[in-house]
Amino acid sequence: MVPHYSKILIQVFIIFTLLCAAGVAFAWADVQEASASAAVSSNVPSIPWWVWPTMLFVVTFVLGILAVLGGVGGGVLFVPIVGGFFPFHLDFVRGAGLLVALSGALAAGPGLLKRNLASLRLSLPVALIASSAAIVGAMIGLALPTEVVQTLLGLTILFIVLIMGIAKKSDFPHVPRPDNLSQSLGIMGIYREESIGKDVEWSVHKTPHGLALFIVIGIMAGLFGLGAGWANVPVLNLMMGAPLKISVATSKFLLSITDTSAAWVYLNQGAVLPMIVVPSIVGIMLGSIVGVKILAKAKPRAIKWMVIGLLLFAGLRALLKGLAIWK
């Protein structure tokens, strides 16, 4: 029963996503045409203003569902897809992407902290590094020419696809000996692992290496407005040795701090348009709620590969757009 249900769900998602993509593509073609004629005449696109926010809401709703089922953050899907297929400038898309990722993190944060899955002791030092770097990334992103950011975004998305495809995860990594820095900061904890019915004690190692990597992660988060769960989790889990659940939860919570600092830079530089931000936030959040409900009933592994496929397509689109090959 469940596998049959999963198949139907997957088919519905594929059809719905294709329909959305087709709708956006047709509307975009119309805008291109309108822009060309507008250059000669009044410079007013023929499509009514409400079409784009409505379409944005529908697409982000689907992205919200896919993000939950595919185990990725909303921001990483939002920026390349909306940046690649909507008429909005990449500056506004990145600003909205940060606020989308921030809102998701703010919504998930309280529950994760209360259940002691997200660790404040692990988050605070990491967040200080990552949020400072995110400010630098945001400033670089707003200063660079659009085509450069677009090309780098495409390459980054393709790199993320690679990571998603090959990276292994470890439920309970072996930490032979916590390093001096993590010991002096008291980065350790205990949480209840319901799947095995035990309390699990955890600690971390290689903290200085991990913190150094969070400089790069922070810069990329600010530069592309992607959120950074795709990078946070491997570093916390595989490098620093935090259990997978702690890594995922702490990563999600971390975004609420990292993305805040970059979001302020975009906000202060006028790169935030409510008409793009609000439908996106509401769409992703509602989609995530629906996604969680679907996830409870079925766990279609194929969705993960569909998300990877979607990212691959969006990454190629961003790369080719940046290189002026596919305008």
Binding site: S35, N43, V44, P45, W49, W52, P53, P87, F88, H89, D91, F92, L99, L102, S103, L106, G109, P110, G111, L113, K114, N116, L120, R121, L124, P125, A127, S131, S132, I135, A138, M139, L142, A143, L144, P145, S184, L185, I190, R192, S256, I257, T260, A262, A263, W264, V265, Y266, L267, N268, Q269, G270, V272, L273, P274, M275, I276, V277, I281, V282
Partner: protein, 139 residues
Amino acid sequence: MSSERTKASEEQIAYAKVLNIGMWFGLLVLVVTFFAYISGSISCFVSIEDLPKYWTMKAKDYIHACSAPTGWGWTGHIGRGDYMNFIGIVILSGLTILCYLVVLPILIRKKDRPYVIIAIAEIAVLVLAASGLLKSGGH
């Protein structure tokens, strides 16, 4: 079964409580102001019908083309439909600073010196980012 050992720390619970209330409040303000904005009942700084002309521009060009405010200049237009939405956005963006301010006294009371320093440094970073003092050059 959850034991005393697996419970979240006092500062973690305090942080979660403020985050939870602030997030819902910010989201509510954001949605209400957005409906007021798109209803057309409030005048806007950039009219909704004209917005598609500007959202294809680089942020810097949009600012120049519309003479739109940067930094905290939007507060001068808070009565306009579009900038009214910034109230919710600022609540969501500023919530983390508030959470740190709530956690800081707990860390001080616990004499957790490294984390007091980290929390103060983070507040400084976020306040600097929010201040609007940081400006990027550009093309």
